[in-house]
Symmetry: C2
Subunit: 281 residues, 2 copies
């Protein structure tokens, strides 16, 4: 697949994830947040296009690409975190898709080959993006001095992700070579086949949220709240009309509960599905 086509799949994945609804608690086609709207996510998706194309065609490190992606938002005056988690999950996929081998195998290699400099760039990008995650005791992402410490201890980005895997869904994927993401991509393709693109994406989002408590919700509101949200998702999934999911959406929005990590997983799963031939009408 050409780097151009890979970048198009990536951008399309972000835009389809964004515009599917209902995805309880997240910005979708039907509503914005008070501080960040659909337009900011559109701009951030468009600004990431060259990053994905470069990822698929040039030997540029993950860390540099991530920094370029976050800096591109700033060029368009986006001050909030839009697609940080999506970039962290999707850039390795774009690098892998530009290689000759099996996507899953190449992705695992990309993650394993990350370096200490990738870890340092990740810290930098994280601060620039204003992203939010649960703290890891050893290397607080809020502590800039930790970058020096990382270099001293020779920790790669994969090491860092492994330290966070119990607290953060995205770090968990990194630590397990995207095992769950590839499974979600298969599930997504089946749901899209059965329910069409919008409802297939919405249902896979609900299923993913039901399966694991969202780490962004957990970082903000604690484990109990995150588990309660997962239970709601599980119940909403039983209603094929998605009306229960719409009701859940209102409830989460009213209490500012935003399962953003799960949305990032869905964007990445969509990317895998598109790379591996997802068809929709």
């Amino acid at each position: 697949m050409s780097p151009e086509r890979i970048a198009q799949c990536a951008e399309l994945a972000m835009l389809i994830e964004l515009s599917s609804d209902p995805k309880p608690g997240n910005v979708d086609r039907c509503h914005d947040f008070s501080d960040i709207g659909f337009r900011h996510f559109i701009v951030s998706a468009v600004s990431a296009y060259p990053v994905f194309r470069k990822a698929a065609s040039k030997r540029i490190s993950f860390g540099r690409l991530l920094l370029e992606g976050v800096n591109a938002w700033k060029e368009w005056n986006i001050s909030s975190n839009t697609h940080f988690g999506s970039l962290v999950l999707m850039i390795p996929l774009a690098i892998a898709a530009g290689m000759s081998g099996d996507l899953k195998h190449e992705t695992a290699g990309v993650l394993k080959n990350t370096t200490v400099e990738d870890a340092v760039d990740f810290y930098c990008a994280f601060a620039l993006a204003g992203a939010r995650v649960a703290d890891v005791s050893e290397f607080s992402l809020k502590d800039q001095a930790a970058a020096t410490e990382l270099r001293k201890q020779g920790k790669t980005l994969l090491d860092l992700m492994q330290l966070s895997q119990d607290h953060d869904l995205i770090a968990r994927e990194w630590s397990t070579s995207y095992e769950r993401l590839f499974r979600l991509a298969g599930q997504l393709a089946e749901e899209v086949q059965k329910y069409g693109l919008n409802d297939g994406v919405a249902r896979t989002y609900l299923a993913a949220l039901a399966e694991f408590p969202d780490s962004l919700v957990q970082a903000k509101f604690g484990r109990d709240r995150a588990m309660a949200v997962s239970l709601m998702a599980s119940q909403a999934l039983e209603d094929e009309t998605l009306e229960s999911a719409r009701k859940m959406d209102f409830e989460l929005l009213a209490s500012d509960v935003n399962p953003g990590s799960t949305a990032d997983l869905i964007a990445a799963a969509l990317f895998i599905s598109l790379l591996t031939g997802l068809r929709f009408r």
Copy 2:
């Protein structure tokens, strides 16, 4: 401005136009048509990205670029016409933006320098896209033999557009060096400043529709119906809450009246605004 940035402005213009609402009678963030939806427009916008980048960086003729744009939809299995009018208006702007001079001046030059081969390619692209316009007596766009006739008579694409300028809003822009489009872009920037991005775009759409009857509506339902729709838009514009525009949207959708040419003008006006520094929050 770099070709990459020009392509980003073009794609963003398409996506912002698409997702602004209400734009009575067109696909927007809130509703699809029965046969063509938001997702098709997203795919078509993403597939056009390389076309815009090439337009801004390489010496490729308008006709070839247009053909590439329409063929790109097919690669993504889009069988309906999504952005044909937008491509016809925006490709010359992307070519002009890649040149060193003033955008308006360079655009006029691009249009004037189109050739007979551009006209032939346009015919081909038109047939591929399944676009709909009012017939021009001399060169029916439904008649493929006309391509041979064009070559024989040595008609350039600009000649062809001049023949259609009384029937078609897009041909009218070509024939007048985008005079109205540059004015609409200025108006759009003012409205966005005053009402924010979404309402600014929606209000400029209404104002444009009120100013000139939409040529797609006219081709499908006749002049009287198109004039009546313009009158509705003029009245809807008086209601700052846009509630009247929402009501108008329901009415047009119910009768399958789709002012698609006006939507194309707004995408192109947004492109000009973004190229010339439009800011929004």
